[in-house]
């Protein structure tokens, strides 16, 4: 935007983290070799190979599930709840102590800006462990019956967009409620989960309570379909979620799914415009738009459309796109070549279907996977970019005239994960919130997360809640 005040590069040092040339699986408290063909994990900002990571085969998964079962029966299940809480507190503190290490590793492996991994992902992950540590010895007060019991072994499969944070969302409630886990991180972002395994060792967590089995889709399938898994938790695409629901159908397994979204961010004409513009930016460009609850559909009241769009474009012009390790970067790299191809495909549809595409000036790095922040105006609700989840930094702008129309358009999606409302009028916020079919509704903010607040979707965004008192229910049986 300006050449007068150019920020000199301010790179975070990567020397704080020691990436090993290869990693095994974390089973029964130690690292073991996997029997599948190892995967390479790359830095999406440079395409440099960071490390080679084992792939868990069916036998490996079986070993992990058996270790988890043993731990559930022998150590973790019978342990005094207050002692389980102590372990969780210890893990939370270790995450804080090694926060910089986690932030740097997350940014290297995922491509997200260091500012976000440092200020959002890692502190929130620690907060989830702290929060659930507090619940460990108070479960009988969670409103889930007088003596709720753990389910047993949880098989958990998590996505690549918030690798450590999604791990925390899964592992913390499972352990706090007395379950043991077998977790499969995403194939493109396994490294922070493996560093977390080191934290489990450092915390002296009994072997088998947390098992981490890396690999791709096959490994994930083995985890969720293992007959001795009592509970399946998945966060990821709706497509995979559907196949998991099919695989689990007819078994005794309990299932929670946190899937895609196409959230509406609704800006009324009485909104605080400058903050709404900030919220729109945060809604869609946070984490390169790789956020299931991203505010990817902007619904603006017609009377302020031009003003909001002009203001938004000016603001997007100030976003700093580039090296994720630079502390001043706002928008980092797209996580994988595959995801970049999908974003390109869907945005190409946007243009052929007649929407107007806008991107700010500026160059992208030569190497790595990049996509400019993109705004589509003149979008019709029938366009694919208004219906399909892009999972990238692409915003579709539509208009409405009345609150009823805003609600109708916001709900006109197969998803229902989140929504945002911008208005200075409290009564309007409350009324519209009531009518929105979305699991999370933000008022005058967006993408704000807290472990005390349950998170989850309606419709094809999945079922079950994570976080808060409600999130405990997914890991407890109240009938015993």
């Amino acid at each position: 935007m300006t050449s007068l005040f150019e920020y000199a590069p301010a790179p975070e040092s990567r020397s704080i983290v020691d990436i090993r040339p290869s990693y095994g699986l974390f089973v029964d408290g130690e690292f073991v070799d996997g029997t599948g063909t190892p995967l390479k994990t790359v830095n999406p900002a440079t395409e440099e190979v960071l490390s080679e990571v084992a792939t868990g085969s069916e036998e490996d998964v079986d070993r992990a599930v058996r270790a988890a079962r043993r731990a559930f029966v022998k150590t973790w299940g019978p342990m005094r709840p207050a002692d389980r809480g102590k372990y969780l507190f210890r893990i939370a503190r270790l995450l804080q102590e090694r926060a910089r290490e986690f932030a740097v590793l997350e940014t290297l492996d995922n491509g997200k800006p260091i500012r976000e991994s440092r200020d959002v992902d890692v502190p929130l992950a620690a907060a989830h462990f702290f929060y659930h540590a507090g619940w460990a010895d108070k479960l009988e007060h969670a409103g889930l019956g007088p003596a709720p019991c753990p389910l047993g072994v949880a098989g958990q499969v998590i996505p690549w967009n918030f690798p450590l944070l999604m791990l925390a969302w899964k592992v913390a409630p499972a352990l706090a409620t007395g379950n043991t886990v077998v977790l499969k991180p995403a194939e493109t972002t396994p490294l922070t989960a493996l560093l977390f395994a080191e934290i489990c060792q450092q915390a002296d967590l009994p072997p088998g309570v947390v098992n981490i089995v890396t690999g791709a889709g096959e490994t994930g399938r083995a985890v969720i379909s293992h007959p001795d898994v009592d509970k399946v938790a998945f966060t990821g695409s709706t497509e995979v979620g559907r196949s998991i629901a099919r695989a689990v159908a007819g078994t005794e397994k309990r299932l929670t799914l946190e899937l895609g979204g196409k959230a509406a961010n609704i800006v009324f004409d009485d909104a605080p415009i400058d903050q709404a513009v900030e919220g729109i930016v945060r809604g869609i460009f946070f984490n390169q738009g790789h956020v299931c609850c991203a505010g990817s559909r902007l619904l603006v009241q017609e009377s302020v459309h031009d003003e909001v769009v002009a203001s938004l474009q000016r603001r997007i012009g100030t976003l700093r796109v580039g090296d994720p390790m630079d502390k001043n970067t706002d928008l980092g790299a797209i996580n994988s070549a595959e995801q970049l191809a999908r974003i390109r495909e869907l945005t190409a549809f946007g243009e052929t279907e007649g929407a107007t595409c806008w991107q700010p000036d500026g160059d992208l790095p030569d190497r790595g996977f990049w996509f400019k922040p993109t705004v589509f105006t003149d979008v019709s609700p029938a366009h694919r970019i208004a219906r399909d989840e892009v999972f990238g930094p692409v915003l579709s702008v539509m208009t409405f005239r009345t609150p009823d129309e805003a609600v109708a358009k916001a709900n006109n999606t197969t998803y229902g994960l989140s929504a945002g409302i911008w208005s200075e009028k409290g009564s309007r916020i409350l009324k519209v919130t009531d009518q929105l079919r979305a699991g999370v509704v933000w008022a005058n903010t967006f993408n704000e997360f807290d472990p005390t607040s349950p998170f989850g979707g309606y419709k094809q965004s999945g079922y079950g809640r994570e976080g808060g008192r409600q999130g405990l229910a997914a890991y407890l049986r109240s009938d015993s």
């Binding site: 300006t2 005040f5 150019e6 920020y7 000199a8 200020d119 605080p272 502390k327 005058n444």
Partner: protein, 331 residues
């Protein structure tokens, strides 16, 4: 509602001919109309504004960028003394520092202005003769502004007669908070007239306005009345300058220029004591209104102790090691 960001919103209906139409020419036709206009400005969500200021506060300004920021910040300082105990000697000492903030380094820029009470403006003027450094004088019964308009205008005329190049006035916060916006407006217009060719900075005293909505309204009021700068605070009320307040004022000058074509400066004053604070403000300008405001013509820091911290950081950057407070002059 009229869209304040649309410069043609009222011009279309005014039917005016010839000169550039002022889109806001009729908003001050009555107090009610003015109130409707000011309250029709988009609201400010305090939580959101604070969050934005906080994120910008995390920018990491290093090496060449820091060197540029330090010199720019020094050149934007209104070196200030506003004490009952001020004397001609103290003002002359400050003027000497203003000319050569770092006597050991001739490459260090001079500050923008020296800010004093009106009765000492003449002393400052004489001490700064030929330097290009302006003399700013506070006036209008500073800091409370509680005096009759005649007294305030006399205060202004006296300061201008003593040689002030810039007048820092205070608005009537009592009138503003009771909704007598037109009174506040007319007073600023009168002061501006009394200033003659002197530049007018309008102090909103945001610590007494409290809400960011009020800050935005007061900013627009002051700009419409002809203020050349809008300034946060007198430095006598806490909180003084804060990043969220400065953010809202920057948004106001940005929107005002978009609507009218006239650029107004911003001066946070009071409470900015460290280089870190100053750099955060420069980042705020850079990413809110852009490079057009990154000059002493359009942005000032009202400060006294800030300058020494800037000088220490500047020495550190040049020599690679920290010196102590005895390496800069005590004012």
């Amino acid at each position: 509602m009229t869209h304040v960001l649309d410069p043609n919103a009222l011009a279309d209906t005014s039917g005016g001919t010839g000169t550039l139409p002022d889109p806001f020419a009729d908003v001050t036709r009555s107090n009610d109309a003015f109130r409707a206009f000011l309250h029709g400005l988009p609201g400010v969500d305090q939580v959101g504004a604070e969050a934005r200021a906080k994120v910008l506060g995390t920018r990491s300004i290093k090496t060449t960028a820091k060197a540029w920021a330090l010199d720019t910040a020094i050149s934007m300082v209104d070196l200030t003394t506003l004490e009952g105990s001020d004397t001609p000697g103290k003002v002359r000492a400050l003027a000497a520092k203003a000319r050569r903030p770092d006597p050991t380094d001739p490459s260090c820029p001079a500050v923008a202005a020296v800010c004093v009470y009106g009765d000492l403006a003449g002393v400052a003027k004489e001490a700064l003769a030929g330097t290009g450094i302006n003399v700013a004088a506070v006036a209008t019964a500073f800091p409370s502004g509680r005096a009759s308009r005649e007294v305030k205008l006399a205060d202004v005329r006296d300061a201008v007669a003593n040689g002030a190049d810039e007048i820092d006035m205070v608005i009537d916060r009592g009138a503003f908070l009771t909704g007598r916006y037109l009174d506040v407006f007319e007073e600023i217009v009168a002061v501006k007239e009394a200033c003659g060719s002197a530049h007018l900075k309008v102090i909103l005293e945001t610590g007494e306005l409290v809400t960011l909505d009020a800050v935005r309204r007061a900013s627009w009021l002051a700009m419409l009345a002809g203020g050349d700068f809008i300034k946060t605070s007198t430095g006598k009320v806490s909180p003084a300058a804060t990043l969220p307040v400065c953010l809202v004022m920057l948004e106001a000058v940005r929107d005002f220029r978009a609507a009218t074509g006239r650029q107004v400066g911003v001066k946070p004053a009071g409470g900015i004591r460290t280089t870190k604070d100053a750099v955060k403000h420069l980042v705020l300008i850079n990413e809110t209104v852009g490079a057009d405001w990154l000059s002493p013509d359009w942005f000032r820091f009202g400060a006294s102790s800030l300058l020494n911290d800037l000088l220490l950081q500047r020495q550190k950057l040049r020599t690679g090691h920290y010196s102590g407070p005895d390496h800069v002059s005590v004012d």
